[in-house]
């Protein structure tokens, strides 16, 4: 895979994130307004200073007009985009390329989703007319197939596996408990999590990301302009994206213990950023913990743990907030829920706070100065993957 990347060429100079949760009192417009106002304050700019917008929403609005109407901007280029659950990160990636190319000086990436207006459990994709032969499982059930496959491959007893998954959820809940923007702010013990009834394979509801409304935004400029806006920008050292061809679903060699799209995506990002030892070069990572076994597999696919060892590292606390490499110090999808268009930007927002030393009670050791964001969409065997590397200015 060949990509040139735009290492060091673009800086994030402002970020915002709304409180995520059951925001029944507001619509998408208000969520976008909130994210937009705060991100402009963060970067010290007026809305009029933004040259172009990339607006991510999976299914809460159609077209750029959804954002234009919400924030009262009628004369600017606004691109609405969707790329499964990586939609928010995709907005950032495209806005970054826009300023890097010189086409615009100041661009906004903004994402929002109003999931709770749907009235159903979980996330439900709008149906595309088809022949009725498409798989119709819930995402929870698709990801549940990872757990027994991983357990069998690496000789982990299923009871032990249940505790490993609960340990991931417990860590993320503990982090989320300290985050005023998170949806769920209660600590959950491993024992309590293990006692929950299964809803999909060996997963309980507490192995799944919550369902929430929310919005988040970033303002990007070319690196040389960053100092005009802030003394502490975040430089983008890598932006990588892979859209799989779905062949994992049909490939008898695929064993449900890894996501090949993510392995490729991470390798590209590390090459762009010049990272050779992510476990020891990164101060933190925000990863797509849509289900607890996803985070388990990600630790190995992203190179944070050797194959077959992540389950032990998780239990040893390696990815706790005070561990060797803190993962999801903001609480992750587990604590935030997953408003699809916003989640990728919410992950970057935590990196923004952490690398600038603004994460308060959740602050991790930021001396390594770099962080990774990983955001995925789709299912095992059929997935899109995003990885970015960010560096403190």
């Amino acid at each position: 895979m060949s990509s040139n990347g735009i290492k060091g060429q673009v800086a994030i100079v402002g970020m915002s994130c709304t409180r995520f949760g059951e925001r029944f009192e507001v619509g998408l417009d208000e969520l976008l307004q909130e994210a937009c106002t705060e991100v402009c304050e963060s970067a010290g700019v007026d809305l009029a200073d933004i040259d172009a917008f990339w607006f991510g929403t999976a299914q809460s609005a159609m077209s750029g007009i959804g954002l234009a109407r919400a924030i009262g901007v009628g004369d600017k280029p606004i691109t609405r985009l969707e790329n499964f659950c990586a939609t928010g990160s995709e907005a950032l990636r495209n806005a970054a390329y826009a300023v890097a190319s010189g086409a615009y000086d100041v661009a906004m990436a903004i994402g929002g989703e109003k999931v709770k207006d749907g009235g159903y459990q979980g996330l439900n994709a709008a149906p595309i007319p088809g022949d009725g032969t498409e798989r119709s499982l819930t995402a929870a059930a698709m990801y549940s197939m990872l757990a027994p496959a991983y357990a069998e491959k690496y000789g982990v007893d299923l009871g032990e596996m249940k505790r490993v998954l609960a340990r991931i959820a417990s860590k993320n809940h503990a982090n989320g408990a300290l985050n005023p923007k998170a949806q769920f702010r209660k600590e959950m013990s491993v024992e309590k999590l293990c006692a929950m009834p299964n809803v999909a394979g060996m997963l309980s509801i507490f192995d799944c990301a919550g369902v929430a409304d929310g919005a988040a935004a970033a303002i990007v400029v070319r690196a040389e302009d960053a100092s005009k806006y802030t003394d502490h920008p975040l430089y983008i050292d890598a932006l990588s994206f892979v859209a799989g061809d779905g062949s994992g679903l049909l490939d008898p060699a695929y064993d449900y213990t890894t996501f090949p799209e993510i392995v490729r995506c991470a390798a590209d990002a590390y090459a762009q950023a010049g990272i050779t030892d992510p476990r020891h070069e990164l101060a933190l990572a925000e990863v797509h913990d849509c289900f607890t076994p996803t985070e388990l597999v990600l630790m190995e696919d992203l190179g944070f743990a050797e194959r077959g060892t992540a389950w032990k590292e998780i239990q040893a606390g390696s990815f706790d907030r005070d561990g060797d490499l803190p993962v999801n110090p903001d609480g992750g999808l587990k604590s935030f829920g997953h408003p699809v268009g916003a989640s990728g930007l919410r992950m970057h927002y935590e990196v923004w706070l952490q690398l600038r030393g603004e994460a308060g009670e959740r602050q991790v050791d930021r001396s390594r100065g770099k962080a990774l964001v990983h955001n995925l969409g789709g299912y095992p065997g059929e997935m899109v993957s995003f990885v970015s590397i960010l560096r403190a200015g």
Binding site: Y120, G122, N124, P127, G132, T138, A141, G201, Y256
Partner: protein, 434 residues
């Protein structure tokens, strides 16, 4: 005139113990069990299963040039149901597929018509018998399908005599869409059916040029059980009667003559006479003589009329599956209407599973989804590696969640996945190898 080239039956796995009915409905029920089509089956899908069996016994050089489907419980009206069976069997587009619809009598009438054509004809008859809770038809009825292939060449049985009688009388009736038929008091039907059957029986024997003594096996079937029994007694046929499966499967309506004739062909030796007597809105009698080809046919294609595995079913599940006890589904969107254009474009994948419907597979991994919408939760879903080296993730059916295991061998079965806006979504599921 055509003879019989092959046969196949399909009786769904579910069995309802009739004693359960009275506990709930406070009336009805009885002894023994009846067969119950699963929530994802209908007369079309059961017809496909029976036809697959019948075709498996056929030389490829004698593939049918017509497919006729008879049922009293058609899945669609106006639109032909036989076309979905045609598609699922992967038959040539030049094969005509048409329905004999609406009435129980259409099953045997299609056999009779197929005998009198000169082209190879696959006749599929299927039925699902429903009635209100506690009704006689609920416990007396059963669900099944049968398929017979008529043609020339190496026939296993040839028609040697036949007779019919028709009379208009109302022993039972049902408005389209109603879940149950209504019945006139029983004695009236008996007085109509028995004399007609006796006359037709004499005529059938005469046309075959044989006497009652020369009959080796006889099938007697009809909606009026008492009339059927009365005829058997009067014609002194009780010692040669083929078990009508009333105690285990129930009376299977339009499928019954084909189901029981197939059972007779499974039981008969070469050069034996089998009579089929159907007493539905008149009387139809077909008299066959088996040929020397029958024993060899049976040894090369064994078990085409076997009843297969069974699983007992609670009355609550039965009522839920028939829509008489609506159950709260998971709080997820119901499936969307299937695109007619996409279904037509992807006909091969959708209806013949890409030509792999007869390939067996092994469960590589599986999961149980209690969150997803299903007419009968939970959904059991498996990643299956097939013998031909391919892999597909498919829904499992005809299996209990506690009985699924990695490494289990599965076969494909044609099912109705869902229904939206009145369009039925047919596709294949996997089930444990029978």
């Amino acid at each position: 005139m055509n003879g019989i080239l092959s046969y196949g039956t399909y009786v769904p796995r579910g069995r309802l113990d009739r004693s359960q009915i009275k506990e709930v409905a406070r009336t009805g029920g009885g002894k023994g069990t009846r067969s119950v089509a699963s929530f994802d089956e209908d007369t079309t899908t059961m017809g496909v299963q029976a036809a697959r069996r019948a075709l498996s016994g056929l030389e490829t050089s004698t593939l049918p040039s017509a497919l006729w489907f008879a049922t009293a419980d058609p899945t669609y009206l106006d639109k032909t149901n036989a076309t979905a069976i045609h598609a699922a069997l992967g038959l040539d587009p030049r094969v005509q597929a048409a329905d004999f619809g609406g009435a129980v009598r259409s099953g045997i009438a299609a056999f009779s018509a197929a005998v009198h054509t000169d082209r190879t004809t696959l006749v599929v008859a299927a039925d699902m018998r429903t009635g209100l809770p506690g009704s006689a038809e609920e416990s007396f009825g059963g669900d099944a399908a049968a398929a017979l292939i008529f043609g020339s060449g190496p026939v296993i049985a040839e028609l040697i005599g036949e007779a019919s009688a028709t009379a208009e009388f109302t022993d039972r009736w049902r408005a389209p869409g109603d879940p149950t038929s209504k019945y006139w008091e029983e004695r009236f039907g008996e007085t109509q059916y028995i004399p007609m059957a006796q006359v037709a029986w004499s005529e059938a024997l005469e046309s075959a040029g044989i006497s009652t003594e020369e009959i080796d096996h006889v099938v007697v079937t009809g909606p009026h059980a008492r009339a059927a029994r009365g005829f058997v007694t009067r014609a002194t046929l009780a010692d040669r009667i083929i078990d009508d499966l009333a105690d285990s499967v129930g009376w299977t309506g339009a499928a019954s003559p084909g189901l029981l004739l197939s059972r007779a062909l499974e039981a008969a030796s070469a050069d034996q006479v089998i009579a089929v007597v159907s007493m539905a809105d008149g009387v139809d009698i077909m008299v066959f003589r088996t040929t020397d080809a029958l024993p060899e046919f049976r040894s090369s294609a064994p078990g085409l009329a076997e009843l297969g595995a069974t699983a007992s079913l609670s009355y609550g599940t039965y009522l839920a599956w028939r829509g008489m006890l609506p159950v709260q589904p998971p709080n997820r969107p119901e499936p969307a209407r299937v695109s007619a254009a996409a279904s037509a474009r992807n006909r091969s994948r959708k209806f013949t599973f890409g030509g792999r419907s007869d390939v067996h597979g092994r469960i590589t991994t599986f999961t149980i989804d209690r969150l997803v919408y299903s007419p009968s939760p939970p959904v059991i879903f498996a990643v299956v590696d097939f013998e031909d080296g391919s892999r597909t993730a498919v829904e499992l059916t005809d299996v209990d969640e506690d009985d699924v295991g990695i490494g289990d061998i599965v076969e494909m079965t044609f099912r109705r996945l869902s229904t939206a806006d009145g369009i039925h979504n047919y596709f294949w599921k996997a089930r444990p190898l029978q």
